[in-house]
Symmetry: C2
Subunit: 204 residues, 2 copies
């Protein structure tokens, strides 16, 4: 997605070889117009399939799951990182390790909202180590639902997330794939190119 790559070049702050800050337009302050276009792009990629629900994780996946849900005309669900006081009923849950924060947490969704009849698109802001996405995939399996694909806004292609998901036979599409970056420099992969993932432990 050319427009997204341009915004990342213009506004993204590269803090290190692995940490990219895009909080001026994607995940703190959000450009609603761009978010809607991101939703349309997910529709262009995945919309030929009979998706019934979009699934993401709070908090920074919500705006993109909402945009995808708007484009596809379906509801979305966001997994919670903390059990809500009002979430008393049965949940599907999966453990996730955050490399960014160096902590483990549990993600969960109510069993009422996902079942064998559902065809799911998972959406998130970043694909890096893939840890959170693997947790969501696990939840889709527990629900007996069918996973139709994983769509991410930005992919750090030099980390292992994509290969982790693809090794499970999952269709993965990212709208901006970063081959490499360092302060002042960023290289994107066009979708026709391939890149060998490198094992790394810093995530975002």
């Amino acid at each position: 997605m050319k427009q997204l790559q341009e915004r990342i070049r213009q506004e993204g702050l590269i803090l290190s070889d692995t940490v990219l800050k895009v909080d001026s337009f994607l995940n703190h302050q959000v450009d609603t117009e761009l978010a809607l276009q991101i939703g349309q792009e997910f529709k262009a990629i995945f919309g030929h399939q009979p998706i019934t629900k979009v699934l993401t994780i709070e908090a920074s996946g919500i705006q993109f799951a909402m945009a995808a849900g708007i484009a596809l005309g379906v509801p979305f669900i966001y997994a919670k990182k903390k059990k809500a006081v009002t979430l008393a009923e049965a949940v599907y849950s999966a453990p996730v390790h955050s490399f960014t924060r160096q902590e483990d947490y549990l993600i969960s969704i109510s069993q009422k909202y996902l079942g064998p009849e559902d065809k799911v698109l998972i959406v998130d802001d970043f694909l890096a180590t893939g840890a959170a996405l693997v947790g969501l995939v696990d939840i889709v399996k527990q629900a007996g639902a069918e996973l139709l694909g994983v769509g991410c806004v930005i992919e750090k292609s030099f980390q292992e997330g994509r290969s982790l998901l693809e090794s499970q036979g999952i269709s993965v599409h990212s709208l901006a794939r970063i081959a490499s970056m360092s302060p002042g420099e960023i290289h994107f992969i066009e979708n026709s190119q391939t890149l060998e993932p490198v094992k790394e432990s810093a995530g975002c």
Copy 2:
């Protein structure tokens, strides 16, 4: 907002006199079509003013801030509850007490995204004790921005949130105002009616 009241009657689960669960369509699974209509409703109420930014708190405010931002054609910002590893620069922050979880937390936003030139609409899913909203109001003041109003999706009018905000001269509008509730029963206030708030400490 009639359609919202009907959905609350049909799908809302009243767990006690103070706890209402709306996670089948508002804040866990989200009806994207309804969320967009909620955004349009906020535009109808506040859109005559020159709003430059919508402000909310992660996570369950995001979908409604996004909907309001879409309707108004402006970006939104969500305050974070935890300092991000990538949020290294100066922030505005305010303490919030959660009555639901019985814990204190700090909300913060980057100083880069809010300033004296901004005219702000604050949006959230629930108005109950008003604790989180008062924290956001505090942040708007710190930024020197102008607060044009507070819009909430559901208001528990029997709690003190509204009077807390109105005592600061803030214009408060909620799309569904609950006068009272108990399992199996719910009463809404029409916007022409008034109700004396009762001091209570259970929030949502």
